[in-house]
Symmetry: D2
Subunit: 264 residues, 4 copies
Amino acid sequence: MARTFDINIDCGESFGNWNMGADEALMPHITTANMACGFHAGDPMTMVKTVRLAKQHGVAVGAHPGLADLLGFGRRTMALSPEEVYADTLYQTGALSSVLKAHDMELHHVKPHGALYSMLSASEALGEAFARAVIEICPEPMIYYPAPVENHAVTRIAADMGIDVVPELYFDLSYDDVGGLILKRANEGADLADTKLRLARFLESGEVLSVNDKPVAMTARSICLHGDGPNAVDLARTICDGLAAADYTLAPLVPTPTIAGKAA
Amino acid sequence: MARTFDINIDCGESFGNWNMGADEALMPHITTANMACGFHAGDPMTMVKTVRLAKQHGVAVGAHPGLADLLGFGRRTMALSPEEVYADTLYQTGALSSVLKAHDMELHHVKPHGALYSMLSASEALGEAFARAVIEICPEPMIYYPAPVENHAVTRIAADMGIDVVPELYFDLSYDDVGGLILKRANEGADLADTKLRLARFLESGEVLSVNDKPVAMTARSICLHGDGPNAVDLARTICDGLAAADYTLAPLVPTPTIAGKAA
Amino acid sequence: MARTFDINIDCGESFGNWNMGADEALMPHITTANMACGFHAGDPMTMVKTVRLAKQHGVAVGAHPGLADLLGFGRRTMALSPEEVYADTLYQTGALSSVLKAHDMELHHVKPHGALYSMLSASEALGEAFARAVIEICPEPMIYYPAPVENHAVTRIAADMGIDVVPELYFDLSYDDVGGLILKRANEGADLADTKLRLARFLESGEVLSVNDKPVAMTARSICLHGDGPNAVDLARTICDGLAAADYTLAPLVPTPTIAGKAA
Amino acid sequence: MARTFDINIDCGESFGNWNMGADEALMPHITTANMACGFHAGDPMTMVKTVRLAKQHGVAVGAHPGLADLLGFGRRTMALSPEEVYADTLYQTGALSSVLKAHDMELHHVKPHGALYSMLSASEALGEAFARAVIEICPEPMIYYPAPVENHAVTRIAADMGIDVVPELYFDLSYDDVGGLILKRANEGADLADTKLRLARFLESGEVLSVNDKPVAMTARSICLHGDGPNAVDLARTICDGLAAADYTLAPLVPTPTIAGKAA
């Protein structure tokens, strides 16, 4: 049986006259797209255009909701209440869901952006509010979060509520000894040789090598690419080639069936 | 058989810390609500709160999309392209539709706000774009427009596309000799005696008396109230009493079945 | 020699079509106004209108800059960098300063709003950035902060930088045993009898009585009123009457001359 | 005596995380900059950063105010009242003026952006409101408009009010037989050979050759470059070289002294 893997990028992050990312160039290389919904980036025209682009390439579309802070690109932590997180997620994810429906597509998953991602990772109350909105909008509720997902408050709660939690890895980033991501600035670009090695090792052994050369066992069902780096398309090709070399084909994730809130 | 009539108001037009309208006081007196969707007014928290209020009172909820101009309350005409009108309507109406779905309700109709209403009334290209978005989001597409609906570019096109077009009257406003509304400022409040007379005459004869005392035959299936006037609740009671005195009961509109784009 | 006192309110906090506060009714009772500058509330038209109102009543105008969060009314803490606080303060305060100049007035002081106030109170780095912007815009740099001003990071730094720091008291609020304010919701309104007693005691003794009946010595040069409460005008009258009864007349503050960054 | 010419570009049109234009690369080649003020583009951090960049290159800074429509980049005509145009211009120009003052610079001129430019060109009432704001903010009021300036309502009124009106030419664009600009999309880039020819002819004869090969006499005191095209830096170099070849040196404009509202 063919083994498949999922590759996701953040997309639709242009705003009006301002462009960001390389959505057109990347779509042929990915299987799922996390689409900005108008709060931290994106706007109705950009969403319609990017949904059509995704459809044309057979890419499944998830929501990428963020904080209502265009100026800060949703990267500045804000003191939101759980009610605000619930309502903001419902609104953004719901808007995208309807744009998809108008194009005969269904919302595939939800992946929070920037500071919202961090806030949900840290707070059970906010995480519960977010998960509640996801369940109400997603036909088969699924959220993406960096592996190891145990590190995030929201993923523990979401799994208990019956949401399929998808762990993802970044092969263009380094990891610390406990599997934490070591962030860098988008404009630096990815080291493609390192990326290739990290991916090959993971596909072989299920491990990533930390910056201290310590092997860390990781579980992942998707690979996330940074679509805004200067060599994003080359990065995508590197990942695709690495997967192909290990006999994986690309396919969007299908939700794992769950029973009473637990994976079957 | 009991005769029924529909009463609608614009609602959910607060924004964050700023209040507008008297939604709580008016909900018991109406049957359908046109809810702001976050572009000219409203925000996710206000939408969730107002949807819950409507549900509690058995009020059907339609979308009240507007221009992306909070500062101008969507009342300043903007040069939008048909693609922008389509995308903005899809986004706003879709967001509300999802908030409704999360509360086990369905989108009832769409009624454009302010300058968007005027732009669609004047332009066939914009009207077509709007109607297309409505059809894609509304389970049973229905739009409300002031009678006589023949006056509006968008209603002619929408009817041809199979949308149920609901003509509505304002009994707190005066009409000119061809059935056009004579607008006044919201803060003036309604003349309740005039309102009572206009309503009674219409229910009896199907006519409104123009400012020049000319009878104008009108068709209407809903009554719109201005919810932001100083005596809005008294106005609502006056309308309700007038309908009851003429043996009408209140009920939200049910879409008229259409065949090939025409009312059966 | 006549003793004078300064009374300030936050004002200009309407936004477009949404009204807030009772600026017209309160202006005759105050001496200085802290005017919203368009980020958390206010807009260019509201600013022009409110500046003209202040001028008509001989009220000195200070800037009331806030976070760029209209939806949250600037009350949601945001993770801003010092550079962002500097630029946002310069922009908002500068815009108001120019509106004042166009009306032959000068910027009187700066008083930060909501979450920005709290962030500056807690962070020396942000406080320094704010103070730098104030010095560059204010002809005679002056900031208002609740007494005791020693409690705030920004006031300690601002005083060292040569800014005149004005301690203010709220007589419609209770105090704890160390002079900290006990906040309540704006819509509760002020207890006028309590307000009268607190003011009289302070004018007599320089003390406020804490909620635990402990006298706390306080220094203050201005009194702040909440202009958005339901009985704000009565509160203003109560304060004015109390000051008059103790032989104070009302006058805007004149900056205290400073030498090398210290009050002379 | 050395002859001088002024070259201006629109700049500071990035917004938060989104970049636009090539401000750093273009600053060495120009003498005046029209800086976005936060309504159609730009934000406080971008303004501070771009003002510092201009200062470093000895570039004079004017305001480039626009409509409050970030999503439409200020390019969608909006039905604004004269009071709104006055207040919006005062606010934006005033904010920039204060940022400049904080860097020991003075506001050099004002040049409206996009749809605001067109609205002021077409309406005397809006033009008068704009001119009034410019006079109140600019130490030596000066506005830039495309030649022939007689074509614009605002420039006729501004000149009568004593504002120095600077006619500018675009050598990267074609002209029609009455001196009107023939616009094209920014992403097409400039034809450098055509640009060189047009400039040389104008410097020699004071004429531009229309698309129909008709010579049109033009008066101009500044040259505007499109800073957002793909070959903007090469375009700037072409203009600079052309001016140098005709023995012009670059210098920001000095306002023409005016007497009773007329140029001396």
